[in-house]
Symmetry: C2
Subunit: 208 residues, 2 copies
């Protein structure tokens, strides 16, 4: 007998998992560079190097492919939040997270989904992994927002939910790609610029 049948099963599972990861990475990239509507499942299968039928063994629909990519992004976000040093001030954490999402987008790794697609919305809402991740991230950010407001560092007149949406919106801000297209600034400069307009606004400030 073999020493252990377990590794064999694990190996098979690992293969499956590896292929699924490859699919998701490809979907993530395609979603980032062309968006959901322009991405075709044939394209995904071709780029992963597997048959289209095999794709449907893993994911029952195009919407579920996109959802898997969003789950991956959400997990990365959760990992990033968890890795922030506890000593950091809430406002600095928020700035760090926004910078991270903008760097993701500038690097072409932020999937872009049409917010008006109803079937896609339904799939995302039905996806427990995605929803739990979203809620956890939102709760964490919401706590930091309220803390920063109590410290008087974030405008306390703004509803926390509006602040949260404003931060989220940086992940799909067209200003980033417009500036990138212009070619006048490095990605780091663009991130600095938009981070500045996000937190400090366009108006001239006495301080700073």
């Amino acid at each position: 007998m073999m020493l252990s049948p377990a590794p064999k099963i694990s190996f098979k599972a690992q293969m499956l998992q590896a292929r699924e990861d490859a699919i998701i990475v490809t979907v993530n990239r395609l979603l980032a560079e062309k968006g959901f509507d322009a991405m075709t499942v044939d394209e995904v299968a071709a780029q992963v190097g597997i048959a289209k039928a095999s794709l449907y063994k893993h994911f029952p629909s195009k919407e579920d492919l996109a959802a898997a990519a969003m789950v991956r992004v959400m997990r990365r976000a959760q990992a990033y939040l968890a890795a922030l040093p506890g000593s950091m001030a809430p406002l600095d954490k928020l700035r760090a997270v926004v910078r991270w999402t903008m760097e993701l987008k500038l690097a072409g790794e932020m999937p872009s989904l049409p917010s008006q697609n109803s079937s896609l919305r339904a799939t995302l809402i039905a996806n427990a992994d995605y929803m739990n991740g979203l809620i956890e991230v939102s709760d964490q950010l919401g706590a930091w927002i309220e803390a920063a407001q109590e410290q008087g560092l974030l405008n306390p007149q703004l509803p926390a939910i509006a602040v949260l949406y404003t931060l989220y919106a940086r992940a799909c801000d067209p200003v980033l790609e417009f500036l990138q297209m212009g070619g006048q600034h490095t990605d780091a400069e663009i991130a600095d610029l938009v981070l500045s307009t996000c937190f400090d606004g366009l108006n001239a400030r006495q301080a700073r």
Copy 2:
């Protein structure tokens, strides 16, 4: 003999023009509520109440339909800019324009086009009416931006082009629809809120 054949021709032309306007208004609304990809030509024809073949008498392609809607928006923008009192300070003009675009979006009258669709981009760039309008509007806004920066009211460290993009981006800001979906605020409150975050940022300010 009739008194004048001229009115007859004019009447016919008026009919044509009126129908074209009806088409463009419908396209504008559909683009605003579902976006370019989800909008179908059959849908447009049905909602206008004309045959699809008649649509193609006016516009040679779906892309041209969208371009016509964008030209209409651009003309409205030019009219709005021109109507601003000359006595108004540049910064106030900028704020007024941004508020206007946000009100347009909140009212469901701002067409939303995918920025990554190449054929649509090509059609828009080839459309002289659209491009001229865009350039004129950009020049006007650019002049106000530089004036406000010289007056020390707008952060002079920001490149004018980045400010311009940031203002344009308010016309497709997802924060608007997210807040609208929440139902906690009126459209006017939402516009005030986002206008505030745009110009003043999220940070707390001493003044204000």
